[in-house]
Symmetry: D2
């Protein structure tokens, strides 16, 4: 019942969890190259937030009770490590679901609130585990030839349930404490066993995490971004995991099966959009820096491209502000962002992201992928030549410019950049999902009334 | 010193003004087809707002003193006729300029405030007159072979100045009371005579308005939009017009020459964006109505296109909300919208408008331009056939659907639609101007700092 | 059995046909404003091509027997009036269908060849009549509450069939001789009566054409494009029209029902793309002319926009060349353009057309819609002022520039421009249809093999 | 005077060349991980083409003498390794330049032809070395504070010249025999020393290649594309390299300085476009394969996206066909592709490439970046779970689908994919350069004539 330090966090992960990476069991997370950066970042986050005393709790456990508080959380979030971000998002999504399923399922809602308190009081880190393996996309869960491709209840016991399945794209799973499991989609009559939401500790028997990573293995100087920002990606296997009732939030009530995914989608898109806005500004900054380093910052077509990037970043941020300004209150007095603005922002930000990256590549030039390695700069004879030829003018020396190219490559045109291109697009669902949700929450009747009035058909 | 009724407004235009249309002098505005709709709309606006008493004044003369008041004005504005909109915008732009040139040019600022009071107290309608003829765009005002292609002071008298030139694209000039004249661009040393801002009554000697119009001439039933919303477009000739000092707001101070255009640009783009947001919703509504009338509203690619239109309208509105939420206060306590968000919204709204129109055309089908005339519906023998074949199902009769097609054509694919395509793009300057201004007001140093930090170059 | 002169053509239309326009029966086509231009254009086409003698026939009746001949036809086509274009396209589409339904339906194929000879020998003009009223788009022909919303056989007689229905978007119907009727879509078992293709003279009893038009009514000088290029648009009612067997090309064989539409689609898209290529070049030319007239032709962002228009026009033309170079031969030795390239070209050309128009509007400026009327130029006192202020420099006088603005408005931002925006998009089916057909004709197996090889999965 | 085998090629590289990689001198190319794949690919190319006898020569040394021969070369080129491609392109570019500078500089043209024969007869591989370091882009070569940032002649000797500078983005330099050096841009009077073109053996004294690479270092099974297709990227330093007259192709004649870059640009864009067309098809194939593997290939929005990719690939190929069909002959009877179509194709292909990649990522899903490693499949306990959950249906087992995801990631969302994103955009110059050249070669006068005719201004 207290906040943890970074050291306590590290110790807490030595809990018997099972992690596999590149074909081998990981015996010690702390010494494995796939996890070093993540552990450091999360640990630093614990240390930065740590306050002593049994009543202390992290700001990432705050429930917004006004649009202003919602805005505060979003601004804080940009400074948090990704595990802390997903903890906040995942738990707020759970609370959103609680508000939406109450009063019909008041008991589940109560358990969610208790679980929230449990995580807060023990300063745990949680990841949402939503995407199922899904099998053949044309076929519903109940029609798959392998019923486990959607996570399901395989046994109902007096004291709880047993679940089986796999959850994909679970960033940070291996370095978190809790998995918040939810149905990936709406379930229909006959699919009650697949309508399951619950919380599972990462070290529960039957849980295995197969980890992948875009962390660079070597030449860290050539990877200034990914060497400091990488997070592990987990493929989570649930091999008949027992969950006690107190941690079960849905177990067959198909009418609520989509509520969890919708609630999570909202918070994931909000967080994703907040990052898109920041990444938008970062892309602008990189474009301006490299243009200045190249001496092209006054060239007309370069200025136009940067202006388009400016407008992109501004529109994402504008819609984000509108999502908060138009936040809606639950009966509990909790504030959730506007679904309409959040989805519109996420769709636009994700859809145009690749074009903004293209602008940066067009502005920067081929040296983004062909600049010599930072280690070449230290070669006794060759290093000076690289400095000479990568330099452009007073104030822009060859090393600075070389480092800038590597940062652009690492951020947008290498493993981390590729991970980002895909993740930006897919987080909270692909473009189709965003379009769908935006349309669903749009006041279509008002738009039709406006159109009828214009057409002189309002009387009909 | 009182508000006018519609009737008083009409009478006030019989003031000796000179208007030419289609090669002929217009003797009587009220009976000329190019002005009938406009006079009716403006007159109705007067009647709707009219309150008796010497102290009454229209809400379009309100100066916003908080973001909330700014938002109120924007919402009201959507219900006003265009002349009232430009009156509000033009005068707020003048006040913005006043705030920006003070204290250096305090006397001009005082005159502007007096002029504002004059318009408010007499319930006048004003149009901004900014775009000059411009001659050869490569050449500055002082280098043109005809010096009059930029409006200029041709004589300075003890009691005022004499101006000569032409002002283009002056919507509603012929049905307004006042021309608010401003320099179209920044002037340089040696171009003092072209740095002129002033107010001129429409009936001042030397003023001629050559009017054009996209008002339909006949078959009004086939033009449900443009027959009710058209506004005259004026080409204003200033043939040595005398302006007394009290109405001169700039006369040679080149350092302020761009301030007026920038101030007007801000308000024009704000108003333009407010209309774009509404038009965005209207396009969505028309698309949904015609899809429902055709029976295609559940077809996947139709839904996707409508969803893209929804996102468009939402993003414009989101950035507009952000422009107001981030409004900036002048020393006078007047609130002006954020330049950055306003320009980003205007650019996006204008740049994507033609694609949204394309979506509507793609959804609606060829009958947008080939539907029979409403008058054909009344043909004794043929009318029933048209009703039969334009009908699609219960609830969608042939006349309703035919009228809907005409509204779409009139709004987006005929004279009014074409005027709108061009005007949306050009109001407040073309896309290049919006990009320029957005970039200028963007916090580039913050973006560069963000990028430097990401690149590990923050210490440099 | 001879070619007609323009005069003979005019006389041939006095054949008892029934045309309605704006609610009234048209007694005399030649004297009605909706038809004057069309009759003049078509008549001139007859005169230009006329050669004496019983064996003479127009080049628009040529069947291409090599890619080179196909290319020749496409180049000629750009110089023909629209009725002649649709005659050629419609008959080549019929022949394409003949080639595709043979040998199964050899009798129909023979009738088509005979009909082709009949049209050629009598120098007739034909329009394809394909789009049905369609009723509720969600419902097949057999399920509509009004069975007539898809054209159908209502009676089978010993000597022929009787058809009922309506055909929409039939450009030039009122000034042509023949309607080539085809099913609008694939028909399924039980829908045999809707699987009907045939040829019907425009003056056949039971045929009524309700005409619409975007021809300007006045101020022709302000409409330099549409006053010379307009074509009537017909809504064709078939009220129990008898068709003798010899002119019936399909009467219940549902397996061929889609063949006609597909064949027509191919030729319509080819012709549409040829026009798009020419219009692309025309848009470039207008953009360059107005930029030169404004003096902005060297401004960087203007040059970039014109370059994008150049690339647009070039890509459309390039794909058109590829469509011809990859033409396919029928067993008869007739050459048809490549479906894949034709559809790709049409899709791209149609999808990007509105953006190219936007570029032109962005380059030209607001005077596109606000330039004074040409008649104002002749006003004794005001005319000189307009000339003065619309002039920009030596070589660009005010009248020339004013006329250029009117041409741009008329071509892209008024009734004709709107008709074009919609027609470009919808001719040969909307964007969805083009995508569908392109995909269908794409060598997907080759692409998959390429991908498998790249992925190292070729052995699978 | 004979063709080499792969073994002879390998031996030929042991010629004293100086290569540096990751800060170290490379002693033995063959055993260094950055070069293994490239050497294998190039060696296989030698073996595949090898024919015995003194007169044998590779097909990559063929000069096209008709559009058909040009087309043949382009088709062959897709099967060649990249070094062979650049050899062909670079030498054809040199010959194009020879044709363009003749007769004024007939001696240089003769040397180029001799050099071509030398390369052909000895079966050498050449890379074009064009991009200079460039320093401050705002400043011409003669104004840079370091004159060496553009490669220049530092000494003129009786027997040749001495050059100094650096050449960037020289793919394959370390595994080739010859550097074909050209000026990167047009030089002006006073910049004669920078107007230098010549051929330099890679092992010439003073040449150093600093190499970078996107070759994967480990887990080759996770990198099925880049482990087989990677090519080294060289940063070439020319530290006072002597070039005998016979290998000097330009030495001060500034009027020809841009000719080489323009000629190379043409061939580089042609080759780039040929690859874009193939990559377009490959992206389509990957999208279709992953959609089929996921079971989404019939989902409407997936089909639409694949159709857009189909149209993309088809348009690139169509314009490429047109570039060949409209090839132009030099006085020597050599055929060069159309500049207009080549540039239009390259611009479109490069500009839309990132959107096509986005489509693939949108279709494939998050597993593109989160799929477990191939090595995890072999884990005794975990492997079966991955196979179980990555499987979707009969015919799509877990390993196949996992491998497909890795191929997509490797091709589009990892180091190779990022290299490709940048290279596609920058090869032959960025988008601005392509626009510029397309515009320059467009028949603008024809377009203006077309526009004037439409506007009724043809008589002016």
């Amino acid at each position: 019942m207290a906040m943890m330090t970074g050291e306590e966090y590290l110790a807490s992960l030595d809990d018997g969890r099972r992690v596999v990476a590149e074909g081998e069991d990981v015996k010690d997370l702390a010494s494995h190259p796939q996890f070093a950066t993540a552990l450091k970042l999360v640990g630093e986050g614990y240390d930065r937030h740590h306050r002593p005393g049994p009543d202390a709790s992290g700001p990432y456990f705050k429930i917004p009770r006004s649009p202003a508080e919602l805005k505060d959380i979003l601004e804080l979030l940009l400074g948090w490590d990704m595990v802390t971000v997903t903890t906040s998002q995942g738990l707020l999504a759970l609370l959103t679901a609680a508000a939406r399923i109450r009063p019909a399922s008041a008991e589940y809602a109560r358990r969610i609130e208790d679980y929230f308190a449990h995580c807060r009081d023990n300063d745990l880190r949680c990841v949402q585990a939503i995407t199922d393996a899904k099998g053949d996309r044309r076929v519903p869960p109940s029609g798959q030839d392998d019923p486990d491709v959607y996570t399901r209840i395989v046994e109902r016991r007096p004291d709880g349930i047993v679940v089986r399945g796999a959850k994909l794209h679970i960033s940070s799973a291996a370095v978190s404490h809790e998995l918040v499991v939810m149905p990936t989609k709406n379930m229909k009559p006959g699919e009650e066993d697949w309508a399951v939401a619950c919380a599972i500790p990462v070290n529960a028997p039957g849980v295995t995490i197969v980890n992948t990573s875009y962390a660079p293995r070597e030449r860290e100087a050539d990877f200034p971004v990914s060497s400091r920002h990488n997070m592990p990606e987990g493929f989570v296997i649930l091999d008949d995991v027992f969950v006690p009732h107190e941690r079960v939030f849905l177990a067959g009530e198909i009418e609520h099966s989509a509520t969890f995914a919708h609630s999570l989608g909202l918070w994931e898109r909000l967080g994703g959009t907040a990052h898109l806005a920041e990444y938008g500004d970062t892309l602008v900054g990189l474009a301006q820096l490299i243009a200045e380093a190249n001496g092209t910052e006054r060239v007309s077509h370069i200025r136009e491209k940067i202006a388009e990037m400016v407008i992109y970043a501004t529109l994402v941020r504008g819609a984000l502000e509108a999502a908060i300004a138009n936040a809606e209150a639950s009966p509990e007095g909790w504030y959730f962002p506007s679904e309409l603005y959040t989805n519109a922002a996420k769709h636009y930000g994700a859809a145009e992201f690749s074009t903004m990256v293209r602008h940066l590549h067009d502005i920067g030039g081929g040296a983004i992928v062909t600049a010599p390695s930072i280690s070449d700069l230290e070669h006794a004879e060759v290093g000076p030549f690289i400095r000479k030829y990568m330099r452009t003018k007073d104030g822009v020396d060859g090393e600075y410019r070389t480092r800038l190219f590597h940062a652009i490559r690492d951020f947008t045109a290498d493993a981390y950049g590729g991970w980002q291109l895909v993740t930006m697009l897919q987080s909270g669902g692909g473009l189709y999902a965003q379009r769908l949700v935006a349309r669903k929450h749009y006041p279509m009747d008002d738009a039709k009334a406006l159109a009828r009035k214009l057409a002189g058909l309002a009387g009909d």
